[in-house]
């Protein structure tokens, strides 16, 4: 159990206390799991907007004339496809083709890249990249300097426009722009982890609390609520967005996780694990990450619950929760490939009893319009 005195605090820790947040330990950080309640916050993001403190995440800058080549030889997606101001979801694999981290990389300029990585993997990512980085490429871990917020929901962009004013260069989907707020440079990216439209905003610590409260104030008439990690998890699960440590791990390849569209096996650059993925693709997958739901009311699926087909165990849950939007339990699990077809009926074991579930198409939830 982590000693609470060694937990890190974001620059918004005091702000969360002022807002009466319930704080928990997450990846070595004091983070708000909820303010008013997970279901209430989840619904706010689906119906209006929510703002999440994501300051625990890592921010790396990679620059130099060989930066693009280095990154393309490190990550699965094709960095060469990025235009200035564009970002892409990508993965960093080990030599076994399994996942070290999933991240978003943004090209700020031809020789300048901004990477946002998972909080729990900052040290490991830095160490891995540090071992491989050539002399001419400059790497800088700025995680300790940056705070960040995710503003997400159908009203998120309206709130951002009202808050930033007409001078704000609004990024299109997956784009990132720079803006000056109160004479401070901030980055705004049209990305997120909820299945809703929205932006992620990166800025230096010094302005964090002012920015956060000013944004909450500006968003109040639109129904903006502060939201914690509890709602962040139920939202991303409904959207079938994987969580490193649960759905992704150093025991699984991204092909097994169904993330083939974020892997370029045809790009010339050779990244760690590429050969393993090529082999896996030609041989076929033995296990796949599937989405499943309870067919009726019942206990929510939880990580590590087992899945059965008759008497045979065929899989294990990696993520699970009640779905506040859909009203039934949902989960992700790795199952034997022949049990992975949507429509397949399986049994979930909960406290010794079997509960019927069904494999479904991903995602559980998708915003239309």
């Amino acid at each position: 159990m982590t000693d609470p005195t060694t937990l890190q605090k974001t620059a918004l820790f005091t702000a969360h206390q002022k807002l009466d947040a319930r704080l928990v330990e997450f990846g070595g950080w004091h983070m708000p799991v909820q303010y008013g309640g997970i279901v209430e916050e989840h619904k706010a993001v689906r119906e209006a907007a929510g703002v999440f403190d994501i300051s625990h995440m890592g921010e790396f800058f990679v620059s130099g004339p060989n930066a693009a080549a280095f990154l393309n030889g490190l990550l699965t997606n094709d960095v060469a496809k990025l235009a200035d101001g564009q970002g892409q979801y990508t993965l960093m694999l080990n030599e076994q083709g399994s996942v070290i981290d999933d991240l978003i990389i943004y090209r700020q300029a031809r020789d300048q890249y901004f990477l946002v990585v998972n909080a729990s993997k900052i040290e490991e990512d830095r160490a891995w990249m540090g071992k491989k980085i050539p002399a001419a490429v400059h790497f800088s871990d700025k995680s300790h300097d940056y705070s960040a917020l995710a503003l997400q929901g159908p009203k998120a962009l309206e709130i951002a426009r009202a808050f930033f004013g007409p001078g704000w260069p609004e990024p299109k989907r997956n784009e990132i722009t720079t803006y000056s707020w109160n004479c401070q440079e901030i980055l705004t990216a049209r990305t997120g982890y909820t299945g809703e439209d929205g932006i992620e905003i990166f800025f230096k610590h010094e302005i964090a609390e002012n920015f956060f409260f000013a944004l909450l104030e500006a968003g109040k008439p639109f129904g903006l609520k502060p939201c914690g990690l509890g709602a962040r998890d139920t939202l991303r699960l409904e959207a079938c967005l994987p969580l490193n440590g649960n759905d992704l791990s150093d025991k699984r390849t991204p092909l097994e996780a169904g993330l083939g569209i974020f892997i370029s096996l045809t790009k010339e650059a050779n990244f760690p694990g590429k050969d393993v993925l090529l082999r896996q693709k030609s041989e076929g997958l033995k296990e796949k990450l599937i989405a499943f739901r309870l067919k009726d009311k019942g206990p929510p699926p939880r990580p590590h619950y087992l899945l059965f087909q008759g008497a045979t165990q065929v899989g294990e849950v990696t993520s699970g929760a009640p779905s506040p939007t859909l009203g039934y339990g949902i989960g992700l699990a790795y199952v034997r490939a022949d049990c992975a077809t949507p429509g397949t009926g399986l049994d979930l074991e909960v406290r010794g009893a079997r509960v019927p579930v069904e494999v479904v198409k991903k995602p559980f939830y998708k915003r239309v319009g």
Binding site: G37, I38, K297, R351
Partner: protein
């Protein structure tokens, strides 16, 4: 400030019991439902089950976790609250009323003496 009806007895594990004759009605306290936050599922014992004080008799699931509910007394389960199947959120809304969990025919009424009164439970939760 947590709601604490005076006429109930309370277990340290946050269950309450209201005894009428030989039968006790059991639920969880306002403090407990607040700690759990949004309740999404309640796993109740079977009618007829013989239960021992202090053992797990039910499970209440919130969004993030499953919490064990302990029997405050020993006896036989004579009724369970079917309303909680369709509306588990009653536990948050009305923990002392509509969200009673089960009724139990007490086999050892002297066990009630080990439970706290409202003042004792209030002191435990720091009220």
């Amino acid at each position: 400030m947590s709601n604490l009806p005076e006429q109930l007895r309370y277990a340290a594990s946050h269950e309450w019991i209201k005894v009428e004759g030989a039968v006790g009605t059991v639920g969880i306290t306002d403090h407990a439902q607040h700690e759990l936050s949004d309740v999404v599922y309640v796993d109740l014992p079977k009618v007829g089950a013989q239960i021992t004080a202090g053992t797990t008799v039910a499970v209440i699931e919130s969004v993030k976790a499953a919490s064990d509910i302990y029997a405050p007394v020993s006896g036989e389960v004579v009724e369970v609250n079917g309303d909680l199947v369709k509306k588990p959120e009653l536990v948050n809304q009305d923990p002392y009323g509509a969200a009673w969990l089960f009724r139990i025919k007490l086999s050892k009424p002297t066990e009630l003496d080990s439970l706290k009164d409202a003042a004792g439970y209030k002191a435990q939760i720091g009220g």
